[in-house]
């Protein structure tokens, strides 16, 4: 079972390999809705296409990539593809990328700079056409390496300063403010927050929004933030929540998916009544939010918008390789109001 090559097609159609190559790339242009570049007379083209079909010819991508540098493959780096937020993003990127004829390589950094670097090295070896990256803390040097290698790059979800690349971010400061505002409107004043200390802009910004909104409502004195890290979150969150109840904190913010699930587990396990003893605002999306009793109020973002914007931006950069690109798209968070933040009962 020998691989059939462009040479076989040429022989079959009675033309040169050049002609076959031209016909093939014209076909691609048509599919992509672009102008034809080389004009082959209809009749010749038909003959070639017939031979292609007859032999079942498919161009060897490794060869064409070696020749023209393009691979039609992009790389996506998240911190963990098993995290619902990132798997939703991955899925949406996959959809739009495959529709545009791109193949996608995924990898997870686990918020580790060294892991991110080894992924980037692998991706660089594969001469990808571009990368979409949710950078971890300290990932600046690694991302710079990608950009310096001339690889079109889009950062998403988290920002990193001083890099010349595309960015698609949520307005996380506003997301944090929205959470406080809706709690304030419902009558809650002693509002606490538990956050990862990961050095990630999205987390930091949500906390910033929380602090700003608290100040705006003249609740600076009530600002109450506990930070934790991966691997220790369960214990920290449990201890903190117990302490919050003792201190009569009446509402709490869980600023991510993963913190939310742990936080809700703790509240459930400790039999803490929501919202009577403690109101709750979560972030992002999770099947649990509407299955919890009561249902959970949350601040969400559209993973699809983020994915589509990121991919489209990347394509734009890929298509204009010589222009410097340094734009940012900022997406808006949304509130989904449920019973976990019902108007505070005055006892």
């Amino acid at each position: 079972m020998k691989r059939i090559t462009i040479r076989d097609v040429a022989k079959e159609a009675g033309v040169s390999v050049t002609t076959v190559s031209f016909v093939m790339s014209n076909k691609k242009c048509e599919e992509a809705g672009l102008d034809k570049k080389y004009c082959i007379v209809e009749e010749t083209a038909d003959r070639v296409l017939q031979a292609v079909n007859k032999l079942g010819y498919r161009p060897n991508l490794a060869a064409s990539s070696l020749r023209n540098g393009r691979r039609n493959t992009i790389g996506v780096i998240t911190s963990d593809i098993a995290n619902h937020f990132f798997s939703d993003i991955a899925r949406s990127i996959e959809n739009v990328a495959y529709d545009s004829g791109y193949t996608v390589l995924f990898a997870s950094s686990d918020e580790s700079e060294s892991k991110m670097e080894s992924i980037v090295d692998t991706f660089l070896d594969n001469s990808l056409d571009g990368m979409i990256i949710a950078p971890c803390k300290g990932g600046g040097a690694v991302v710079r390496k990608v950009i310096d290698a001339g690889i079109p790059t889009v950062l998403f979800d988290r920002d990193l300063p001083g890099l010349s690349c595309g960015r698609v971010l949520l307005d996380n400061v506003k997301a944090g403010e929205m959470a406080v505002d809706l709690l304030y409107d419902a009558g809650y004043r002693k509002i606490a927050m538990i956050n990862y200390s990961l050095g990630i802009s999205s987390m930091d910004d949500r906390e910033k929004g929380y602090r700003e909104a608290m100040r705006r409502h003249s609740l600076s004195g009530e600002i109450d933030v506990c930070t934790t890290v991966y691997g220790q979150a369960e214990q920290d969150i449990r201890d903190y929540i117990i302490d919050c109840v003792r201190r009569k904190v009446d509402a709490i913010l869980f600023p991510t998916n993963t913190i939310s699930v742990i936080g809700l587990e703790v509240l459930h396990d400790l039999n803490i009544e929501v919202p009577d003893v403690m109101a709750v605002v979560c972030f992002d999306k999770n099947d649990c939010y509407d299955l919890y009793s009561p249902r959970i109020t949350r601040i969400t973002q559209s993973t699809e918008d983020m994915a589509v914007e990121s991919f489209n931006m990347l394509r734009k950069i890929i298509e204009r390789p010589d222009e410097k690109y340094d734009h940012t798209v900022v997406l808006q968070p949304e509130v989904i109001l449920r019973e976990s933040t019902s108007t505070k009962k005055t006892i």
Copy 2:
């Protein structure tokens, strides 16, 4: 910023490109713990390695792939990478694959044969070293195409008959039986099941297990299965559950992740008391299961085992290209008992 090639390294080290190539592949062998193949004297090798480091040389994978046919990349096809079950699997495959120096391409078939075919074509164009596939209904011809192209293949999660490839499957019949048995032991007799009619072996086998266990307990008369399809599941499940309550069915099986979430939503929404009015057994893993009130009994499988077994099997096939490989690994399901199946109250 010119790409630095093997030629540059050769010049820098004052040796031939052959020597550089040998040194590089020896390095790879050492990393993989294999024997050296070509012996280059230590001193020469050192000189080469020094040049490699100095210039920051990294081999062009497209070129080496064109030459030797290996890409060190595998493809993984699931039905939906955003589904928790598959994103967990994906993550575990990623881990073990990157550790072994493989890069992973992911794609989602959405249970569509034509989509699966177009993914396979793309993967074939990329001359991957192997594929790990959860085939959709009717995917037999497509998988056969992969196998016939000489690509090492492992099926996981779902079986497809008559194909000569590796398989890693759960004992799904047993999983279905376990669910019925534990309900039976807790005193439930009128046990219903709602299932996708997707023509997927894992679903079919769980139903088969359910039916067999019902028969074994002399409950053939109570067998009660409703089937649904994607897109219509919410409505079907709601109607069916309402009808089940009316008919005094006292327990229900949700044989997948996605059915479970919808089913629990309906039960929650309709305020149906679990387990007093209806006991519930779910399958697989979900954050919700322990957050629901009451917590949910489920039959689980280890996604990590499935991922690791699949990858290791694939590697084995890749490494012995001429042997016919046709083995199956069967994994065992596990029960996690919670309050959604507490002993039935006699009223």
